[in-house]
Amino acid sequence: MYSVNYHRAASVADAAKLVKSGDAKLLSGGMTLIPAMKTRLAAPSDLVDLSRIKELQGVKVSGKTVTIGAATTHYDVANDEKLRKACPAFAHLASLIGDPAVRYKGTIGGSVANNDPAADYPAALLALGATIVTNKRQISAAKFFTGLFETALKDGEIITAVSFTAPAKAAYEKFRNPASRYAIVGVFVAKGKDGVSVAVTGAGDDGVFRSKEIEAALAKNFAASALDGVKVSAKNLMTDLHASADYRASLIAVMAKRAVAAANA
């Protein structure tokens, strides 16, 4: 790791001020950033730690509206009783991230801001039509995730929360990379008042995306059997050591089918 200056922010306003210094980066759970710094792939001059800011923590459910503070850990998301009632699929997704030690530290805001193409939350947020709330504005998930490790966030902009309307039905199915345990394919299906939406992580060569083929098939009939014979195109899917684009395409259909079955269960 290169030398770095650490700052612990007391509030979002404090963090916004601190992050202006040098080539500063925001630090939340640090589960991606610290390993990247250890291997010298990231070299911020300063770190602004958001993890102890109380106003960024916690899950709120009011009616169908779910709001999750950006510094809420995966563990807290997975185990929040209100959320488990309102949108069990979302809590379940959080319980599948990394390993128990990672879930204690990693946060939803950190994960969303990093937009790793194999991260889990982006699939849920995109499928749920969630809103990403920052200290400056509100951004819809569809506009937020702009590419591999790319988001609509401007320099120094801080995610404070994500919010979404709990769908009538939803589920997430994840097929893990055997080594890294990130998603090779993760499919989040949601059926709400605006219809069915299906978002896929881990597979797209430009990051998380909505699968039009699957959505079209499910729009008519939200049942696993509706996906029998549905072919997902391998175009624009990633190929790497662990999975070809063809394999990913096939897995998208399989995982979608399983997710629909789970959502209907």
Partner: protein, 783 residues
């Protein structure tokens, strides 16, 4: 068996320190004034070094020294060597290229060490290492062994034309060809054994300390064999004469072969300590380990197995290309030859065998022994071929094996080895029973109803371990003898220290070796200390690898105990005024058989040291040394049965049952033996399902961290059903075989046989990852 003697399931003495965080590994060592090292390594797989500029690095904060290979050479430090001479079939010696601990004019793989930087902190050493400027001229690379042999391939070493190190053979080519020609059936296969990275959880580390006043070096290193390290560093690398070099291998966090060898880093740290005047510590990070630890396996073979009309094997022919990487590591040459081809008879009566092995340089990390070393490769060939043959011949895989089992001993194979004892049918019976082999068809049908593909596969392995009779290995080209040593020191109060040349890095020697002493003298194991891993404390020994600590290391202890026992009996007979032949030692007492005359054990020890009343002419003291050179290899064998269920939609393989039935001869501590089998099986399943080192065409290692190299996790594995049915080994005094490598040797073919059975195909590449299995299912459907 007593509660702490041979055969007892004793909890390990050494555990207390490990479970309380008090283990002491190399990285835990602190020496006053100690500084930290980082190595500058080649980012290229093949390049000429045009210029090394260290000026900027030397000026960085905290930097104490920046040293290059040129300086190292000028100080007379020697090249690394391979210690086992193999001759090609034309009689020419193997073509060994030079391996300088720090590369001087050429780098040959990504990770090749070039410069060492010593600084106040590890962070500063790394900062400065990045500031070393090296100008390279990149060269074309070759990573695939078959391609490396082709005319016009990039030349890794000038010494080895077409990258061929040696072209070696064993067995009778003519007779084997004739058997194939005359056969009723021939099974032919092309079989790849995937490259693996050993991945002991403790990364390699070295701490070199030069004491100027004493002109003496101390090296703490993650070694399975500290004496061998000292010998090689003294005799071949000119680091220091043996009496001025102390090598300590303290607690070592796993080895699996990868810590047998003497690597550039420990040599360079010792030398750098003298150059800089400070103790120098280096600890690998995981990616450094991936890049530079000796890898394992990496064979490509074609095989032909001939059968007569009664399904008896009549001949076996093998042609293998083995990738040895960029340099010949210490034992690299013997792994794909004498540790491999000599096992090609397996558990079977095979009248004639011929194997040809070509070893090849490539621009990849050096390849050497990894758990099993050659024997997993041989077993994989045989047991994959047997399974394929059974399917072609439409006979039960179990019965085809049984038909061909060796049943009388000793048995001379056509490939050197002479098996001394075994009962292969007993293991097969035990495994088929434990796995309910007969009930498989029902389970397969039930799985099919759930949309799953279920398969079963078996593997009947044999291995040669207890390395090894010195005269035998000497005649085959080994540069060292493979005996072991022990010293048993009985203290004046009767407690005992055993100094052993074996090294424990997880095997539990502190417990099993003490159990051996308990069995002999009835001394509680708490009163027995096992001392190992320090060349200043322990007499010359050969270390731990090749499942040798039991069969060879304990035999040496047993021999030393014989001498102690003989002397103790003489003393007791004298004190008790009895005949020496009537003295028995039991439960901590020295008695005259058939009388009530006895002495407590400690009084005999005390008498030896007070020396007031010893038999005439006897020297005081009770301490004996023994060197044990085994009479033969020893031959553990067994039968493994794996049952899998595959999800055809995702290609995920679940191991639903894994049964191991082994023959390890006499067992000292069954709990520890079972643990060894569990670990070996996990590594074997890892090879079959999960692990594989992949280089891209330019020689970059794509699997250089746990993000891409799949380590077996708890969720990938089932609990294992293990059992033993033992035939004592007649070749050593304890009747012990060896259990350290069996699991890794026997399991990969069982897993792959199960997968190919489930899918209904002939072969699938290892690791059979979900994507590979998925693709295989798809391809099978198309046909």
């Amino acid at each position: 068996m007593g509660i702490e003697g041979i055969g007892a399931r004793v909890a390990r003495k050494e555990d207390k320190r490990f479970i309380t965080g008090a283990g002491r590994y190399v990285d835990d060592m602190v020496v006053p004034g100690m500084k930290h090292a980082a190595f500058v390594r080649s980012p290229h797989a093949h390049a000429q070094i045009k210029k090394i500029d260290v000026k900027k690095a030397q000026g960085m904060p905290g930097v104490i020294g920046v040293l290059t290979g040129k300086e190292l050479k000028a100080d007379g430090i020697g090249n690394l060597i391979c210690g086992w001479m193999i001759h090609s079939k034309d009689g020419s010696p193997m073509k060994m290229g030079a391996w300088s601990p720090l590369a001087v004019d050429k780098v040959r793989y990504v990770g090749d060490a070039i410069v060492i930087v010593v600084a106040e902190t590890k962070g500063q050493a790394r900062d400065a290492a990045e500031a070393v400027e090296i100008t390279y001229k990149e060269l074309k690379t070759v990573v695939d062994a078959t391609k490396a042999l082709q005319k016009g391939a990039p030349q890794v070493h000038a010494e080895a034309e077409d990258n061929l190190i040696f072209d070696w053979e064993i067995g009778d080519a003519k007779a084997t060809d004739a058997a194939i020609k005359a056969a009723a059936h021939v099974t032919r296969m092309k079989i790849v054994n995937n490259r693996l990275v050993p991945n002991a959880m403790e990364p390699r580390a070295a701490l070199g300390h030069y004491d100027k006043a004493e002109d003496h070096y101390t090296c703490w290193t993650t070694s399975q064999n500290p004496h061998l390290a000292r010998l090689v560093m003294s005799a071949f690398y000119n680091v220091a004469p043996e009496n001025k070099l102390r090598v300590i291998a303290p607690d070592v966090g796993g080895g699996f072969g990868s810590k047998i060898y003497i690597y550039p880093e420990e040599i360079v740290c010792l030398w750098a300590s003298k150059k800089t005047g400070v103790p120098v510590k280096w600890v690998a990070d995981r990616t450094e380990s991936f890049l530079t630890d000796a890898h394992g396996r990496d064979h490509v073979s074609t095989v032909e197995m001939a059968f007569d009309k009664n399904n008896k094997i009549t001949g076996f022919k093998v042609d293998t290309i083995a990738n040895l990487g960029a340099y010949m590591s210490l034992f690299s040459s013997c792994v794909p030859t004498y540790l491999y081809a000599t096992l090609l008879s397996g558990q079977y009566n095979i009248p004639t065998i011929h194997a040809n092995v070509r070893t090849v340089y490539t621009n990849t990390a050096p390849v050497d022994a990894y758990r099993g070393a050659g024997r997993p490769e041989a077993t994989y060939l045989l047991e994959r071929t047997m399974e394929a043959a059974a399917r072609e011949l439409r006979v039960s895989p179990a019965e085809l094996r049984r038909t061909n089992f060796i049943t009388s001993f000793p048995h001379q194979t056509p490939v050197i080895l002479n098996y001394d004892a075994g009962d292969y049918a007993a293991s097969l019976d035990a495994a088929t029973k434990a796995s309910d082999y007969a009930g498989f068809a029902k389970r397969k049908a039930a799985a099919a109803k759930q949309g799953k593909l279920r398969g079963i596969g078996m593997s009947c392995y044999i291995e040669a371990c207890g390395l090894a009779p010195s005269s035998a290995v000497g005649s085959l080209g080994a540069g060292v003898g493979l005996w072991e040593s022990a010293e048993v020191r009985v203290n004046a109060v009767g407690t005992i220290e055993v100094l052993t040349g074996s090294h424990s890095h997880g095997q539990g020697h502190e417990t099993t070796f003490a159990q051996l002493v308990n069995q002999r003298f009835g001394v509680p194991i708490d009163s027995v200390s096992i001392v190992h891993g320090d060349t200043d404390k322990v007499q010359m020994g050969m270390g731990t690898y090749g499942s040798r600590s039991g069969a060879v290391g304990m035999s040496a202890i047993s021999k030393a105990l014989d001498k102690v026992e003989a002397k103790a009996k003489k003393i007791a007979a004298h004190l008790l005024e009895a005949d020496e032949g009537d003295i028995v030692i039991e439960n901590g007492e020295v008695k005259v058989a058939g009388t009530d005359k006895s002495l407590p054990w400690f009084q005999v020890a005390l008498a030896a040291y007070t020396a007031h009343n010893l038999p005439a002419g006897m020297e005081p003291g009770l301490k004996e040394t023994a060197f044990y050179d085994p009479a033969n290899f020893t031959f553990p064998a067994g039968c493994y049965i794996c049952e899998v269920e595959i999800d055809p939609e995702t290609g995920t393989t679940e191991i639903v049952q894994f049964v191991a039935a082994d023959d390890f001869g006499n067992i000292i501590n069954p709990m520890i033996v079972e643990g060894q089998v569990h670990g070996g099986i996990a590594q074997g399943i890892g090879q079959a399902l999960l692990e594989g080192a992949h280089y891209d065409a330019s020689g970059q290692l794509l699997t250089a961290s746990y993000m891409d190299y799949t380590m077996p996790r708890a969720g990938d594995l089932p609990s294992f059903k293990v059992s033993t049915s033992n035939t004592p080994c007649p070749s050593n005094p304890l009747g012990i075989k060896g259990c350290g490598e069996a699991g890794a040797i026997g399991s990969p073919p069982a897993v792959i046989n199960a997968i190919t059975d489930a899918i209904g195909i002939t072969d699938i590449a290892m690791p059979a990852s979900p994507s590979t299995v998925w693709a295989a299912i798809r391809a099978a459907k198309k046909h």
